[in-house]
Symmetry: C2
Subunit: 301 residues, 2 copies
């Protein structure tokens, strides 16, 4: 099934205990698209400025990523993010951010993309996510990500969005912040009451929790890789793997959703083993399959 992603495209500068990398490829829709492309064709919608230094056709060469939703905006500058990680690297510290084109009008969704069956609205202002969603005909599965900033400053829009999407992906602190509940299990219960059929809570190195509105829990630990070099994009890569698998299977039942979460976990565990998206250059579908199988074994008792 056709899978659309809307999200940021960025030039990142990253520093971790294992090194640093200036002006590398980043952004939620880039990580998402690459991860999803291991499973299914992807339609990317995003906007960059005239200063955009990468050739995405080359980046996605050999992968089925449709770039007709990429807008290179005259007179605008690309979104830039500079961040660092220390200690257990569970949280990025933003050292500098230049929103640039992200602070302007959203890109337009091409007509050819409007029939997309699955859509992932990567993190941005919820009003913008609603605008993007409104441009689509009637996706079978719409999933959104969000962040603390919008929970804090645009709660009304976010609550509106939650009534319109089938799934919400967010991190643990955000789930607690959104609901004001400190128990994660209880916070997740509260979120599915706000509209979505399911919520996926990302807990970084602690894995993922799924709760459906039928009160079905699923919990999966992160894949225990011992060479985490750069966690940037892990969450978007997870979402890409998850949505990519769902699109391929064209089935959104809990059993499929659980497998999708495991595939998302497997594909995200690879990308954090090197800077930017570099680790995936040498990754094959069999590497993802192998980690999926190992995850399966590692939780069985």
């Amino acid at each position: 099934m056709s899978l659309l992603v809307t999200g940021s495209i960025a030039v990142d500068s990253i520093k971790t205990p294992f090194g640093q990398r200036a002006d590398c490829l980043g952004g939620s829709s880039i990580y998402f698209s690459m991860a999803a492309s291991f499973f299914t064709p992807v339609r990317l919608v995003g906007v960059v400025g005239k200063d955009w230094p990468f050739d995405l056709r080359q980046v996605f060469a050999g992968r089925n990523v449709d770039l007709q939703g990429l807008e290179v905006r005259e007179g605008s500058k690309t979104f830039r993010w500079q961040g660092s990680y220390a200690g257990d690297m569970n949280e990025a510290k933003t050292d500098k951010v230049e929103l640039n084109v992200l602070a302007e009008a959203a890109p337009v969704i091409p007509d050819a993309f409007k029939d997309s069956s699955l859509v992932f609205l990567a993190n941005t202002a919820p009003a913008l996510q609603l605008q993007l969603l409104n441009q689509l005909n009637s996706p079978k599965l719409a999933v959104a990500d969000t962040m603390n900033l919008w929970i804090d400053t645009a709660r009304g829009d976010l609550l509106e969005l939650l009534k319109r999407v089938d799934g919400l992906v967010l991190n643990e602190g955000e789930a607690k912040m959104l609901t004001g509940i400190n128990s994660l299990a209880a916070a997740a219960k509260e979120i599915v009451k706000l509209g979505p059929q399911f919520v996926v809570v990302k807990k970084g190195e602690h894995g993922t929790l799924l709760l459906t509105n039928r009160q079905e829990y699923f919990m999966l630990p992160a894949y225990p890789t011992d060479r985490v070099m750069d966690p940037t994009g892990a969450g978007d890569s997870f979402a890409g793997g998850m949505m990519g698998y769902l699109a391929r299977e064209d089935n959104y039942e809990p059993a499929t959703l659980k497998k999708a979460i495991a595939y998302g976990t497997a594909v995200a565990s690879l990308v954090i083993e090197d800077f930017s998206l570099d680790r995936w250059k040498s990754a094959a579908p069999k590497d993802i399959e192998q980690r999926f199988q190992r995850l399966k074994e590692m939780v069985q008792f």
Copy 2:
């Protein structure tokens, strides 16, 4: 098989966002013994002062906990701990501690206990844990707990202890501190090189990681209870359930260890739903079995 536990016996005063309780029953060996007693007979070794206000025969009435290793020491005072929890309650804040009898000589292990097959050395100074271990004939399975204080101040003794035990149970921060490695997967690998056949890392509400010296990983999320009232004793209860199940099965293979960790998780998820050990008063083996089965379902994909 016979299971011995050595550890603290305490009078606790606890404050959580859900209430407070003064002078209630606590201590690692108490939580451990009660948890283990759902599975197997337990031999308890510990020491209290003359001011000890509880009748342990009554506390353990109807459970097979042998109290002949309980010493009530003349002229000494019982260990007292006062702590509080806030926010996500993942960490206790110690507001006041009176070591009292815990700072004196260790209790003696009764002759009748020296043939114990399984022993759990709850957290105390590693030199003391070694002394206790040396009093036993030759346990088939010795498992120890430890804490940041000893990693910091008694590393030599602790490394000595690690060569003598089959398993180590510790929390995530301690595993990273012991090895100086921030990746948990890598830290666990390092720990099994220090001697034990397996390490169990407790991650609080994020569950548990097992690594054996055959590089076999097992990861289990915590049981998602949405009414965490008092997390005190969760770790010792987990260890009690784990060791109790291993004693009952008399088998220490990875497959059994994994089930034991799931039983430990189930029994610990109950105790945190009320203050002190109160929740277990109304808990039956079938409640534990039910949570064990739900855990099994919740991780399957």
